[in-house]
Amino acid sequence: MNLSLQNSTIPTLDATAQIAASARSATKVYGDGDTRVTALDHVDVAFEASRFTAIMGPSGSGKSTLMHCMAGLDRLSEGSVFIGSTDITATSEKELTTLRRERLGFIFQAFNLIPTLSAVENITLPSDLAGNRVESAWLEHVVATVGLADRIDHRPNELSGGQQQRVAVARALAGRPELIFADEPTGNLDSRTGAEILEFMRQAVREFGQSIVMVTHDPVAASYADRVVFLADGRVVDELIDPTPDNVLDRMRNLGD
């Protein structure tokens, strides 16, 4: 294991920025013996608050694993994870549930919504589960922002894929979580609908000071972020501030070598 390489890849951070989440020496190993896979290999990474960070890398590089571990959905084999200044590495399942409910939001590529609940019920689901009420002005604002005002009482199966993703974005925003994790949120959408969703996410960061970490394969999607972190073989290998589609593509090509 090349320690010097790891040291050289610790991402540079804006020293004044607040940290929304960070991982220290995060390692995740799946399986034993012949089937042993090291999905994360001593990853050190930090995501700033009020910033839109993208994670990129080849398939199987550990992007989803990193996200799951940082969101407390899966446990690390080694190392530690912080949400803000809270070390969640060893917290109980119960506390993690509360953490997800109160401090985190999620958006996925598909199956984001409970099929038996209407759009608005899906949006307020986390607050309802926590026994809180979403402030109605804020709810209206979020719903208006994602352009769903007239679709609010429809069931997921009555909405298009793009509309469903917008509901998912609205749900993530509605509870004003400290940090939103998004795993390929536009992976299933055509480029125009995808662009709309990404625009909402960027707007949420700019206007509401939301922190978002997004996994993506698409250089154009990554260019909406403030910063891109590159993973390969379970390690952070590079990063890029203020990305454009072109320079992201460039870096991606280099990763392949």
Binding site: D74, E93, T98, R101, F106, F111, N112, L125, L129
Partner: protein, 842 residues
């Protein structure tokens, strides 16, 4: 929010749950019908009881104690009348149940197996008698009256003479009038007759009155206890009961009968519930498994395990509530249906009020909701443990810890079961203690098999595979599917397993009892004919034996006079036979000693000799039932206890010397050596003519009839179990329907790569047959095991060695498997109709 989700889920899955609730609805219906019927009958009978005892302030009865032959006569009545404060007193007597039976105008007896035929001494003292004369005259000598309901039913006419069979023989009596019983002749189908009090002893074979009803002056009634003491003081060896006590006693009598009906219905409810638990549990497990991703998503956005569990339990509760809501009116329907059924069977059921007590509603709700919650508990617990990551992965299931828990539970239960069985068999306690121990053991073993059964799916399915692999690809896939979800296959089959375990246990025990009976009769009965009393249980007058002995066409004759005596402060059953005739009629397998002096010896059973260490030569001071004492020396020990149930056998001389009065419970005899066949036939005809209450049979006819009785008991049990099997099959159909919808994509894929609709249908049907056969094989195996335990527990005179009715058992397994095929009809059709494109796209 969770509540809202619960409601939405219920609506979305309504079809799936509909079938599930069937078993619960049925169970709740049975519970409700048991209470509605019981409460209604109790109220009706309560009113009736009040009617009957209304005029009786006190009732005098002979003391019911060993050694006192109670009887009351006219002198006693006079003595009571002489007591201060007594207004009136009348003696009553009732013939033994069914011992008095009129021949109807159609020339037939009223069937003895139905409601009882009762005969009383007539009294028209108003207020005392439950009977009111509504037409004709009170019975004089040679006359009788009957309740108007029975007269209508059978066509008895006032003024006509009828043959009436009684314990003392045939009598010609004229019908003098019709009576009403109570206020509206609610007789529950019984035939009620009354005869002139002066000839009841001659007709019924009774001795004096059973009781004296007493009416008091108002002032005497005010201090009922002193009045009772006064009346009691006027007589010896009597007890005096007050109206309140009689009323309680009568109500208690009715209640025991109502309780029987109620327990049968509750038994049905219990079986439905037991089977339903498995089916509901299974449906929940499948429906919740299908929602794994959704549960994961809920966990992801912050729902905790408790919220998920509460939501799922809420669904269960709502389903239980719904089932109860349907079951309550359903129960009233079942009660009405049963009433109609009883009526159709000729058992006129009294018109009872429909009483829906708050208790009934509460129990119905508790049963419906409770059982659903209990069944859903385990699957819900598992589902609530779904990790949040399940929302993100498709194949995130399978928890090995559960199967480990199952194994541990199974081993623990098996150990408990084995221990109970071992203690039960080796303990050497009474039959009841043994059966209790074995029952606990059996339940524990049943639990163990249920817990471990997913592990058995593999091996048993492999065995079935030998057949199914030959059925081409659909057969092969069916086996694979059954094995793939071993847990589900096992749970689905468990419901069927219960039913079949009970049936096959009953079959095995029944067969073993029959075998023992057959061998006992074969080996030990030499008598040509057995005469038993099938109607009245009152037996035959002792004169019958004398008549038979006098008949030249007949040889050896003996009766068996059952009675009781007291030995070493213990009241025991004793029977008296002719020591002369006995050895030529029966081989009692006397292993030690032999017949001794007829007036002072007894032969005892092997079990008494062993248990109480009674040995040859022991002398016992016995008090006979009339208080006379006799010293009995044990002269022999008999081993064949299938024929004679009593532990003590004496010669009739013992009774005759002591003056014991007992009728012949049953009689055995043979034709005289070298007797003319027509003379024997004539003798037989005479007996049949003279004692129509008797059943005259050869030993093999007797055996056939006994076997018939056993089969009858089995068929009642089988009706109960058929219900369980039907619910179990509905469970299989439900599980298959669910797994078809779960496997939509898979089936679509199979169709896309070329499997025909027919192939798909066959695959589902075979799978069902595999599940059913699995349940049947396990059930039958357990049933045989339990049957063996029962045979071990039963006294050897009932069942000695295990006998397996293999033909019936194989039929059972085949029927269950075929029924399994039928259960799959609808799910298979649905799978076959699936549109390939839709299936893949979904």
């Amino acid at each position: 929010m969770i509540a809202k989700l619960t409601i939405r889920n219920l609506r979305a899955n309504s079809g799936r749950f509909a079938m599930t609730t069937f078993g619960v609805v049925l169970a709740v219906s049975f519970v409700v019908s048991a209470f509605v019927l019981g409460d209604g009958l109790r109220r009706t009978f309560g009113d009736l009881t009040t009617d009957i005892v209304a005029g009786t302030d006190l009732e005098v009865r002979p003391l019911d104690e060993f050694g006192i032959i109670g009887s009351l006569d006219d002198d006693d009545v006079a003595a009571v009348l002489a007591v201060d404060g007594v207004v009136d007193a009348v003696g009553f007597v009732e013939a033994p149940e069914n011992s008095v039976r009129p021949i109807t105008p159609a020339g037939e007896e009223i069937p003895g197996a139905g409601p009882p035929q009762l005969a009383f001494s007539w009294s028209d003292a108003p207020g005392f008698s439950p009977f009111t004369l509504i037409e004709g005259e009170a019975p004089e000598l040679g006359e009788f009256v009957i309740d108007f309901g029975s007269a209508d039913r059978h066509g008895f006419e006032i003024g006509d003479a009828y043959t009436v069979l009684t314990g003392t023989g045939r009598h010609e009596l004229t019908l003098s009038g019709l009576t009403r019983f109570g206020s509206d002749n609610q007789t529950l189908g019984a035939t009620l007759m009354a005869m002139n009090a002066n000839e009841t002893d001659a007709l019924f074979g009774t001795m004096g009155f059973d009781s004296i009803a007493v009416a008091l002056t108002d002032s005497a009634r005010a201090d009922i206890d002193s009045a009772a003491a006064l009346v009691g003081g006027a007589l010896t060896d009597v007890e005096v009961l007050t109206q309140a006590t009689i009323e309680e006693e009568t109500a208690a009598e009715f209640n025991t009968q109502i309780d029987i009906i109620q327990s049968i219905l509750l038994g049905f409810a219990g079986v439905s519930l037991l089977v339903s638990i498995f089916i509901i549990g299974n449906t929940f497990a499948i429906v919740l498994a299908q929602r794994t991703r959704e549960m994961g998503l809920l966990r992801l956005v912050g729902a905790d395990a408790n919220q998920l569990r509460r939501g799922a339990m809420g669904e269960a509760g709502a389903i239980g509530l719904l089932a109860s809501a349907i079951g309550i009116p359903g129960g009233i329907g079942v009660a009405a249906g049963l009433t109609a059924l009883f009526d159709a069977l000729g058992l006129t059921f009294p018109d009872y009020d429909i009483v829906i007590a708050t208790r009934t509603i509460l129990v119905a709700l508790a049963v419906g909701v409770g059982v659903t919650l209990i069944s859903a508990w385990w699957p819900t617990r598992n589902a609530a443990r779904v990790p949040a990551l399940a929302a993100l992965r498709t194949g995130a299931a399978g928890r090995s810890e559960t199967s480990r828990t199952r194994t541990i539970v199974a081993i623990a239960l098996a150990a408990i079961g084995a221990a109970c069985v071992a203690v039960g068999i080796a303990g050497g306690g009474s039959t009841t203690a043994m059966i209790t121990m074995l029952a606990i053991g059996a339940i524990a073993i049943f639990g163990a098999v249920t817990a471990i059964s997913p592990r058995l799916v593999g091996p048993i399915a492999s065995a079935f595979g030998l057949v199914f692999e030959r059925l081409g690809m659909p057969g092969r896939l069916a086996i694979r599917n059954a094995r793939r979800q071993a847990g589900r296959t096992a749970t689905t089959a468990a419901a069927l397993m219960i039913g079949l375990a009970v049936v096959s246990m009953a079959l095995v025990v029944g067969e073993s009892v029959k075998t023992e009976l057959g061998s006992a009769l074969d080996e030990s009965v030499m008598a040509d004919y057995l005469l038993t009393d099938q109607v009245a249980d009152a037996g035959f007058p002792t004169s019958v034996v004398e008549e038979l002995e006098a008949d030249p066409a007949l040889g050896a004759v003996t009766g068996f006079r059952n009675s009781q005596m007291q030995v070493d402060d213990e009241v025991v059953d004793v029977t008296a036979a002719s020591f002369d005739a006995l050895p030529t009629l029966f081989d009692l397998d006397i292993s030690e000693g032999g017949f001794g002096d007829p007036t002072s010896s007894a032969i005892v059973s092997r079990s008494l000799a062993d248990e109480d260490s009674v040995a040859i030569g022991d002398v016992f001071a016995a008090t006979l039932n009339n208080g006379a004492t006799v010293d009995l020396a044990v002269s022999g020990i008999f081993d064949e206890d299938s024929l004679i149930a009593e532990d003590w056998l004496v010669d009739v001389a013992v009774y005759n010397t002591a003056g014991v009065v007992a009728s012949e419970t049953w009689i055995a005899f043979s034709a005289a050596a070298g007797a003319d066949a027509t003379a024997v036939a004539a003798a037989i005809d005479r007996i049949e003519e003279r004692y129509p209450q008797g059943e005259l049979e050869t030993a093999s006819e007797f055996q056939e009839r006994m076997e018939g009785l056993i089969d009858q008991i089995l068929s009642v049990l089988n009706a109960l179990v058929a219900l369980a099997v039907v619910i179990a099959l509905i469970g299989i159909a439900n599980t298959l329907a669910l797994s078809v919808s779960e496997r939509t994509r898979e089936i679509g894929l199979a169709r896309a790569v070329g499997m025909s609709r027919r192939g798909v249908r066959r695959m589902i049907r075979y799978e069902s047959a595999v599940i059913a056969a699995f349940g049947a094989v396990l059930g039958v195996a357990m049933g045989i095991g339990f049957g063996w335990l029962m045979v071990e527990a039963l006294p050897a005179s009932f069942a000695d060695a295990l006998a397996i009715p293999s033909g019936q058992i194989i039929t059972l397994v085949v029927i269950a498997s075929v029924a399994g095929l039928l259960a799959a009809l609808l799910p298979a059709r649905r799978a076959g109709r699936m549109n390939v494109l839709d299936a893949i796209a979904s």
